[in-house]
């Protein structure tokens, strides 16, 4: 134990504080039960609501469905989509058309086909989203909405000109019955979306909203994440559109205008529609505000003016109702039971004794770089780099700023496909494989920047990164080993240094063959540095991964690494054991400059 020792503060090993139970299977039925309760409430409401309000209530429920769909792309996946009602129009169009040409199967089947068609339209419009981001994507969706708006205005819906009415299905024919149908559909959509949001897919939506590189690096396909978000959202809009067709009988283009899509987008921002209860609340606002205005004799167009003002307010403050309410609840809960003091503290001597000494044994090469070169224009970032990492090895990759260390990590992990030379993982070449494929083959990396999506909880993030490869017990034990916050903690509440420790633990839980760490200890305090080093040393024996670690702190390199490779100006300057490399005068020259200058 040369350098990683530390003053003993407490000779008695302290049992770790019990952690809150991870979200287990026992609560899986809760959303379904809430859904059943929702349907019952819907039935009761349909019975007590005055008939004059039933039609409006249907409109409100349909708006809730649209908002839940919109919440997925705008709230969860973080893309600006201004064409939600155009997707709804696709659903309505299919329902109207099938009714006109007499496709058998009835309204409900038509509704499903309409939803699928809208989903297909969403997929198509999602394709540009693979390359376009932010405002550019917003422009495209707005263009889509406006073009469809003009076209629909000219063609109208099938059968509308002939006055053909779309019949509602039998038990739901009157307004009260149709309201119950709409509620049932709402509940079905809401429960499905709830489970989707909690699934890997939902995590990938949140991850892609925060960082595409981060998402790919943990083995998730960015394209799949984006396209599914678009398709699911559009499909739900299609359901809403089909329901509108059944509600009004003869759908009109004026129900699906661009302006209404804009209003819906703004409402989804104001309410925070990625949270289902807030989408429900938003649906109520959608009819309540214009209706209240009508009661007070104010023209209903003021409704959109109010949405506009609320939207500007929400967008400028970056907050929404749902987030505010949840934040307030979380704050109260925290005050009542403060979060357990979690932290990365150095092992006591007793703990170290219990853990035993670190066994070092190197096996076959798992990661091999042969003659890897990268150039950006005329700048040669890496030149003819050879590097071998063996099973069980912890190799440091060091060198002054600008030496090409991070470029090497990018080339190895697949973010620089145009590099020269060969990279192979456990003997099989990686050429041409995308980052997410490499990650799934067992080559994981972390980032120098914070790439941990703050909207997830620690547990959700770890499960997402681990790709289903770790049991709950393994997750709990790894989080404890690295002194991470409990699984229930929100990453947004965790400081950036600790987030990167969580990132390391999560990637190890994916059981990779090779883990590449890009300055993992940046942002940690001195004590945390020492403690983190103690953990890193035990990665090969505990997680069976070989580690390549970029680090500037040479104390950490000495304490953790078995061997080291030094890069300077893109070339390998020295390679060997840590002591050999650090004793090399060329290396100190690269770090400190020429001796004469000192």
């Amino acid at each position: 134990m040369p350098r990683a020792s530390h003053p003993v503060t407490d000779a008695v090993p302290v049992a770790p504080a019990p952690r809150p139970a991870l979200r287990g299977p026992s609560r899986v039925w809760v959303p379904a039960a809430v859904g059943v309760a929702g349907i019952l409430v819907g039935v009761v409401v349909s019975l007590v609501l005055p008939s004059s309000l039933t039609f409006l209530a249907i409109t409100s429920v349909i708006a809730m469905i649209s908002l839940i769909g919109l919440g997925i792309v705008t709230g969860t996946a973080g893309m600006i989509v201004l064409s939600q009602l155009t997707f709804a129009a696709v659903g309505a169009w299919i329902v109207a058309w099938f009714n006109q040409i007499g496709v058998p199967g009835g309204f409900l089947l038509h509704l499903v086909v309409g939803a699928l068609a809208a989903g297909a339209a969403g997929l198509l419009l999602g394709l540009p989203a693979l390359r376009l981001r932010g405002v550019n994507l917003a422009v495209v969706t707005l263009g889509f909405a406006a073009a469809a708006d003009l076209t629909l205005g000219k063609t109208q819906f099938p059968g509308t000109a002939a006055g053909l009415r779309i019949p509602r299905p039998a038990p739901f024919a009157d307004d009260r019955g149709y309201f119950v149908l709409a509620v049932v559909v709402l509940v079905a959509v809401a429960v499905t979306v709830h489970y989707l949001q909690r699934s890997r897919l939902g995590s990938s939506w949140r991850a892609v909203a925060f960082s595409e590189r981060g998402t790919a690096a943990v083995g998730s396909d960015v394209r799949t994440a984006k396209l599914t978000a678009f398709a699911v959202s559009a499909m739900i809009a299609g359901v809403a559109g089909g329901l509108i067709a059944g509600q009004v009988g003869t759908p009109q283009a004026t129900s699906f205008t661009t302006l209404q899509s804009l209003a819906l987008y703004v409402l989804s921002i104001v309410s925070g529609a990625h949270l289902i209860e807030m989408a429900v609340f938003g649906g109520i606002l959608w009819v309540l505000i214009p209706e209240l205005l009508k009661r007070f004799g104010v023209p209903q167009d003021w409704g959109f003016v109010i949405f506009g003002v609320l939207g500007i307010q929400a967008l400028t403050t970056g907050s929404n109702l749902g987030q505010d309410i949840r934040g307030a609840i979380a704050k109260r809960r925290r005050r009542r039971s403060p979060a357990p003091e979690s932290g990365l503290v150095p092992f006591t001597d007793a703990e170290l004794g219990a853990l035993g000494s670190v066994s070092v044994s190197h096996g076959e090469p798992v990661l091999e770089l042969q003659d890897v070169s990268v150039s950006f224009g005329h700048v040669k970032a890496l030149q003819h780099v050879d590097l071998v990492l063996r099973a069980g090895e912890i190799r440091g990759l060091i060198g002054p700023n600008g030496a090409g260390k991070s470029t090497l990590v990018d080339a190895v992990s697949g973010f620089l496909p145009q590099h020269d030379g060969a990279v192979s993982l456990a003997g099989s070449p990686l050429a041409g494989l995308a980052p997410d494929r490499r990650a799934r083959l067992g080559l994981r990396r972390t980032f120098q920047q914070d790439r941990v999506p703050p909207s997830l909880t620690v547990g959700d993030y770890v499960r997402f990164v681990a790709h289903g490869g770790a049991s709950e017990a393994e997750i709990a034990s790894a989080l404890e080993f690295f002194g991470c916050p409990p699984a229930s903690a929100r990453i947004a509440d965790v400081d950036v240094g600790t987030r990167r420790v969580v990132e390391v633990a999560a990637n190890l839980l994916a059981k990779p063959r090779v883990l590449v760490l890009d300055e993992p200890a940046a942002g940690l305090s001195h004590d945390e540095h020492i403690a983190f080093g103690q953990r890193l040393r035990r990665i090969p024996e505990r997680f069976a991964a070989a580690v390549l670690i970029i680090e500037h702190d040479l104390d950490l390199v000495r304490a953790v690494c078995h061997s080291a490779t030094v890069l300077n100006f893109g070339e390998v300057l020295a390679t060997g054991t840590v002591d050999e490399v650090l004793a090399n005068p060329e290396v100190s020259k690269a770090y400190m400059g020429e001796a004469e200058l000192l």
Partner: protein, 286 residues
């Protein structure tokens, strides 16, 4: 076909001017202003309605409309500058979506939902060559488009104010630290773009289907044109706008392509961007 293409040049000029304004805004104040055309629409509607319902003299109405357009633009500018100075372009631009919604619905309340009749400011035929008629509006629009983009280029490239504006665009905090009046120059950009777009909509509104929505949605073909220059290059925005107008004008001569016409801007943007951004695989450079 040719007649249609020439006629399309007028609306192409409008697209080009709005596109140039949007490019300037994107570069100088980091906003893609979705309410750009909406601001012009509101000013023009106010001018027309003052002249019609209050029997105000037309020039007075136009002046009030212009001032309103400038004021609206400045107001949006102040909001983004005050509350979102450091936010991303997306976040700042999303505010203008709210503003667009607000302006269109406010104009429904104040001026009604029907298309408005405007007293033409420029009208009549300028000249005819070989049976192809060129209207005065076309001439004015193309000239104005060239003037706006040329003027903007001169301002940015050749004057001290232009240098200061570019400094603000690149490093707002550094610019403030070396004593450039960031807020007033930024608001100046908003005011200028509000003025230009209101003038343009006032001139073109009498020749168009002039309801609030379709005038506000001029922003879509205009942003298609601006996207051609990636919201960076003024020249490409100008060319893109004119080209889009010409293509739409030519296509509108063929009745069988009636429905296709409305999809041209969208299809063009998507195809162009997919080609142009084909290397933008990742969201961040590293």
């Amino acid at each position: 076909m040719l007649q249609g293409a020439i006629a399309g040049l007028a609306i192409g000029g409008v697209y080009a001017i709005i596109a140039v304004c949007m490019t300037l805004m994107a570069q100088l104040v980091r906003v893609i202003n979705f309410a750009q055309a909406g601001i012009g629409m509101f000013g023009a509607f106010l001018a027309a309605s003052l002249a019609q319902s209050l029997r105000m003299p037309v020039p007075v109405g136009l002046l009030i409309g212009l001032v309103t357009g400038i004021a609206l633009s400045v107001l949006i500018g102040l909001i983004t500058q005050r509350w979102l100075p450091e936010a991303s372009v997306s976040a700042r631009s999303a505010v203008t979506v709210g503003a667009l919604l607000l302006l269109v619905s406010l104009s429904f309340i104040l001026f009604g939902t029907r298309p408005m009749t405007f007293a033409p400011i420029v009208s009549g035929t300028a000249f005819a060559v070989g049976g192809v008629v060129v209207s005065q509006v076309t001439i004015v629009m193309v000239a104005l488009a060239a003037l706006v983009s040329g003027g903007a280029w001169l301002l940015l490239a050749k004057t001290t104010v232009g240098t200061k504006l570019r400094a603000i665009a690149d490093r707002p905090v550094a610019a403030e630290l070396i004593g450039i009046p960031v807020t007033s120059l930024t608001i100046g950009v908003w005011a200028a773009s509000g003025l230009i777009v209101t003038v343009v909509v006032m001139i073109v509104a009498p020749t168009q289907t002039s309801d609030a929505t379709s005038l506000s949605m001029l922003v879509i073909p205009a942003s298609a044109a601006a996207l051609l220059g990636a919201f960076k290059r003024l020249g490409l925005a100008l060319v893109g706008g004119l080209l889009l107008g010409v293509i739409q004008g030519a296509v509108s001569q063929l009745p069988e392509l009636m429905l296709v016409r409305d999809w041209i801007p969208l299809v063009l943007i998507v195809l162009f961007l997919l080609w142009n951004q084909r290397k933008e695989v990742w969201d961040a450079a590293r």
